[in-house]
Symmetry: C2
Subunit: 341 residues, 2 copies
């Protein structure tokens, strides 16, 4: 979710989002500091490599979820939340280092990937070391809960990627499979981020679980949005290699939707193009999607998930965290509108 | 360290080792059970893959260290020790899955590697998932100590591999560098295995630290022995692809030793051969090593480390664990003798 254009007049939520980001500026600065501190824990030989990965200009969505779900009205960042935010962000960054190997991605957020810069072997090992350090950080809590949650989420993220990889260009696409993949690879860590935030923020158990369910559904919506972005916006806007999912023959929802709307004969040709993974084919497919109303249909599915996420918070209207999470959901809705504008 | 030929009459320690293995048979069976249980924790889509990796016919050296250092005279396996043994073994197995990608290894212990069988992408992700599950298991202890130790060890193992990889065929070999690499990639997890075993076995703090130092030095000795095996025995005997270290241009101690004993002109040719990584060159180098007395010199360095490891236990002669660890060290000495016989 891009944080550019925060003052768009079209979506009131976007204005709120700018205020949200401002609210968590102290937390994000503290997060930067914790991530910088982690670099010193690495052995001297790999500190530059670790710093390269941790000095991320990323969106820090998962830390934002931790902060929002853990919000209790105090402005100064609380150490437990900052640390939990650092754990989920480092875990996420570690998985990105490995994802970029699989996807043969050269760029991420405008910078060379570790895989492109130092080779896939170093990228495998550095991703491992980053994950190990995020585990270490998670052991700095008094109990094993943070570590346990993040371990399960990491296993699921990797499993989601395996299911996607094993499918490959030859596998039969299905909605169930797509849903399962994005639940594992994205929604679980969103779930953990919200649940840990709410827990460490001292919320009642009922809200902790509700926030977790909100996170899972928002994660599904976000991944659908992200997959839509591959086709509905340019490489520059997405800030990453255009269509790495496409190039790897991954069936994302826009592709599934287009296949569903195509005649038998067209479908064969589309599958062929998907298997080719060529950029030209991707551009052609994007045009077909636009013509067939795929973008709008996919955006509607994301909106359905956002509504379901919001419903999870219905019993907790009085909590400060609820308002923030609602604003975030509204912002994602606004981003979906922007994509289709 | 192969456990075959346990009844060799030449090395009394080998007879003790057979008795040792028998002593820990219940523990190893309980370990198998815990590892099998872990498979069920994986998501259904990857259980077969996880089972393939966890159903290892490996040497289980690290579990053995946990059991030995934690030995307090009771024969029935204690759950805490078995669980710690499972954590270190799973962590080790996860790193092997990734090592086999880097080394382009086709076989490990006579079975296809995950990288060869399912491709490097799946191997990266499955290694991650295995590591995540070992972290999960480490959170089943009441405190975060096991998890923390294993996180640090994992970071170091990966760092050791990075240092080795970044060196590559072009780097200047040096003893300091070799020493640093094997300390990180092997000795640290040996250290953690011994320290955790002693701690969970309820030993006094002084012994816990002494056992850790013993483990580190034994780990150095073991890695030197393992590197020696690449050249001093055949692929079949080592049970893995012959000379993957050699093929990747890694400077191990036997290579360093041969370079030190060579004239300037020969050295250039040797470095060339190392860079080529060809099997023929490796066989030729092994012959040169035999002629130049390299095997004996390298074995002597391993023996020096074993003696230093044993010295760490000198203050704790009365503990049952001390006797076992001494037997293990003696067994490794016997294995070194066998290699040169």
């Amino acid at each position: 979710m891009s944080v550019s254009n925060p003052s768009s007049p079209k979506y009131p939520a976007a204005r709120n989002f700018a205020a949200l980001l401002e609210l968590f500026q102290p937390g994000m600065s503290a997060l930067d500091e914790v991530l910088r501190e982690q670099v010193a824990h690495f052995e001297p030989e790999v500190r530059d490599l670790a710093a390269y990965c941790l000095d991320s200009t990323g969106k820090r969505l998962r830390p934002l979820l931790v902060f929002m779900a853990g919000w209790n009205g105090r402005r100064s960042p609380e150490l437990l939340l900052v640390r939990a935010a650092a754990v989920v962000e480092m875990t996420h960054l570690a998985t990105l280092v490995h994802d970029d190997i699989m996807d043969h991605a050269k760029l991420r957020r405008g910078r060379a990937t570790v895989s492109a810069k130092d080779g896939p072997a170093v990228a495998v090992l550095l991703g491992d070391a980053l994950f190990a350090q995020s585990v270490w950080l998670s052991t700095q809590f008094p109990t094993t809960e943070v570590c346990r949650s993040v371990a399960v989420a990491t296993r699921q993220v990797c499993t989601g990627e395996i299911v996607q990889t094993l499918g490959g260009p030859g596998a039969q696409p299905s909605r169930e499979r797509y849903r399962r993949i994005i639940d594992l690879k994205t929604a679980e860590l969103f779930h953990v981020s919200c649940r840990l935030g709410a827990r460490l923020g001292g919320s009642p158990e009922g809200f902790v679980e509700a926030a977790g369910r909100f996170g899972r559904k928002l994660g599904i919506a976000y991944q659908i949005y992200d997959d839509l972005t591959d086709f509905a916006s340019s490489a520059e806007a997405a800030g990453k290699t255009l269509g790495t999912d496409w190039a790897s023959g991954k069936f994302t929802l826009p592709v599934l939707c287009l296949l569903e709307r195509s005649q038998e004969a067209e479908r064969e040709r589309l599958l062929e193009q998907l298997r080719s993974g060529s950029l030209e084919a991707g551009v052609e497919i994007a045009a077909l999607m636009a013509g067939a109303g795929v973008f709008r249909a996919v955006a509607d599915e994301a909106r359905t998930e956002i509504a379901a996420a919001l419903a999870e918070l219905a019993d907790w209207p009085e909590l400060p965290a609820t308002e923030l999470l609602r604003d975030l959901a509204a912002y994602l809705e606004g981003q979906l509108d922007s994509l289709l504008a």
